[in-house]
Symmetry: C2
Subunit: 513 residues, 2 copies
Amino acid sequence: MNGADALISTLAANEVTACFANPGTSEMQFVAALDGVPQMRAVLCLFEGVATGAADGYGRIADKPACTLLHLGPGYGNGVANLHNARRAFTPIVNVVGDHATYHRQYDAPLNSDIATLVKPNSIWVKSADSAAEVSALTAEAVAASYGPPGGPVTLILPADSAWLETSGEPAIAQKVTRPAPSGAAVDAAARAIKAAKKPIVLLGGQACREEALKEAARLEAAGVTVYSDTFVPRQRRGAGVFLPKKMQYFGEMALQELEGVDLMVFVGTTTPVAFFAYPDRPSVLVPEGCETMTLAERGEDAVAGLGALADALGAPKDGPVQPLKIPEAAPSGGLNAYYAGASIARHLPEDAVLCDDAVTSGTGVAIGTATARAHDVLALTGGAIGIGLPIAIGAAVAAPERKVVSLNGDGAAMYTVQALWTMAREKLDIAVVVFANHTYRILNVEMTRTGAGDAGPKASQLLDLSDPKIDWVSVAKGLGVPAVRCETAEDFDRAFADAMANKGPRFIEAVI
Amino acid sequence: MNGADALISTLAANEVTACFANPGTSEMQFVAALDGVPQMRAVLCLFEGVATGAADGYGRIADKPACTLLHLGPGYGNGVANLHNARRAFTPIVNVVGDHATYHRQYDAPLNSDIATLVKPNSIWVKSADSAAEVSALTAEAVAASYGPPGGPVTLILPADSAWLETSGEPAIAQKVTRPAPSGAAVDAAARAIKAAKKPIVLLGGQACREEALKEAARLEAAGVTVYSDTFVPRQRRGAGVFLPKKMQYFGEMALQELEGVDLMVFVGTTTPVAFFAYPDRPSVLVPEGCETMTLAERGEDAVAGLGALADALGAPKDGPVQPLKIPEAAPSGGLNAYYAGASIARHLPEDAVLCDDAVTSGTGVAIGTATARAHDVLALTGGAIGIGLPIAIGAAVAAPERKVVSLNGDGAAMYTVQALWTMAREKLDIAVVVFANHTYRILNVEMTRTGAGDAGPKASQLLDLSDPKIDWVSVAKGLGVPAVRCETAEDFDRAFADAMANKGPRFIEAVI
């Protein structure tokens, strides 16, 4: 076998069985080697940002890494934005970046670049396999590193000759580290502080927003501790039968207003909340003055164990509050808006769906409706780099083919990685895509005022506007192979979404709002 | 004025008058400041790879930098691939990357990342303007740095508070360095070596392929020296009345076969030719064994002066050979292919058009036809990162609104930055887009064999194939606002291309081959 065979068989031996790929010449050996490893599913993406976003979605749902296959520095570059999001979600991903043959690098051929530097900001581990003999061991090391905890994207650089030269041996096996439970001292300290505080809150993030952790967090709420979650959570269980913590508000001054009087914040799977952006004369750190902060469970620790132990220490009841199942009986009617869309989504969303949210301003409206829908997982935009909603849905659908996936997108956001629609069509993925077409970067109209930049003049307004020309999303989606429909009323949307839920395969809904 | 005003007025004072932008919250001050500087044209791009590719096209045609406006690390990341191409083209570009306010960086908010490291591989100059007071001076320094020579992309990081805080003073003016002429010693050495050599060649790249330089290079050809150009040239004058050097072959072994017996290579505006990729048992360096190499003009030197002096030293005639005007009278007929497309392009291409070539396998066919078309400039893919053909055409059209721009693309390549079509529609740019739809990554089918990876199995084949589903390019282009037509025969294409040349504004042609 050659280095490429060693790489793929090592990945498979470590349960990495999905590859989101956009290969070039330097990756041909990898591509050829795929047919030798039946467990490995290869998914072609027509742009690398689709591949990396898909790997993020896969990792969040499968709780194990997918690999990406990227073509030298520029190929990796195209994937940077969604790797930034994945880093912020602590999602395990193994990026395989093809490079020139080791002896060819010195000649600085046109596609040559400093890959090791380029990948550094968004890789928690980087190595180059500079000989075929070390491919297997480094691959296992990469997989292990991607898990953390708390985990994240890693990058294995694979020079072409390391892929084509012969090697031998059994696939190396990754040594995974399991998440340790928080120390008894941390639990005791948190319990003591909570008992002593007048208005304590617990703030959940990351793993603490998964199903099991929320059960324990609900017990804290039942014991009188208000529970919050981060504004953007990699994967949150939500809907009927699930505890719904309050959400940290997006705008800092609103968050601080809501937190007024809080004298203790206990972090579980997250850290000190900060404003998404700075604004003139607005706060950066979202901790009220004089409020004590402490960490019960670090991001890499076992949040379920920590929350359970804290609930026990506080003498909390065995069960806490959960959301009721409350679904509108009738379809909403009239002009379409995000709230009506949310109501219809709640009406038709099947049990255990995955809801991918890259709809910056419309997502909030939808979330109101889905708060009491059938239980589902929500994958949010963790790093603020819009353009994840379509790719992450691909990854979720590949990871869980039996679950219905819904992808919610702003029209501005969906354009970044619109190529994803083609992969949905090719792989016949069970994804309903909704694009909220307001034909503007809506959030930026708000931000223009908040940053103190004043009223937008004609040139400034043009840079926030998507209405000239209006994108015909149905035409674009159909062109990329996905059946598509435009909805201008709430009734239209309800019908279209019901239809998408009732049928397998990719569907596209342009929601005109 | 605030820092953003200082930035834009300094750019304008230094003749940087085009901005290709995809802004976010941290760039709102920059956006608001645009209306205060009438000279600055702002062009919204719906994806950052469009913005950076457009800036490359602008710089190649205008011979001065455009600026880009990018949103923190992820925004820059999306632009990396085309900045790689621009770096390889030595195109001056001033990237303005918005960042969190200086005091907010420490909190590591979701969009925070190590921008300085990320931009390093593709920036020939990087600084962060960490106070409003230093914005103007650093902007002028950035502009100067972008010119080199030989020039390239630079990155100015602009924290939000440096943009919104007040400052004062006149715009700083960039100190540009002009290209020095090669030394007399270098000219003498080259002349002596050429006279002594049995089979000398001169290899042109970069500035040496511009119109004036080719006139001097033609004199060398007339004096018996065979003149070659690099395979991929940032901007080459081509067509009737222009000297056409031989082109270095793409595949190394073919290049070496053609160069057999060459005992001297003189480089002008380029350096030692190397194979685009390494392959098992194939050459990396494309210099025949025993062949002497020397440099007449470095990339940053004045190629026209160098070539002229060399021609004089060799006693070359005042004029050398140029291409005749030779245009097929009749439209080609039958099934469409790249050669027929080239014939039609030659028939209808107006004088002084700009031809952007991102059609890896079809471009060669077209180039045969256009070799004797009316004189035009060709902008090639210098860095191998496909996805430049649409964006670079935007930049060329903004730089030279009076020139017709033609954008040639493989279908695989065009998908990377398909969002560019919307900007063409919004700005009503005079661009004819041709996408050669062969529904495969054709080049990779060739490379699969050449890399010794063997025959592609079913999974491998899937990763090279774009036919399932077939992209309906007409539907996609229309959806993004560009009038579009599909051509399946040579006659169809000839008619459609003639129509595109006869009318102003963006047109899209899907060439089914």
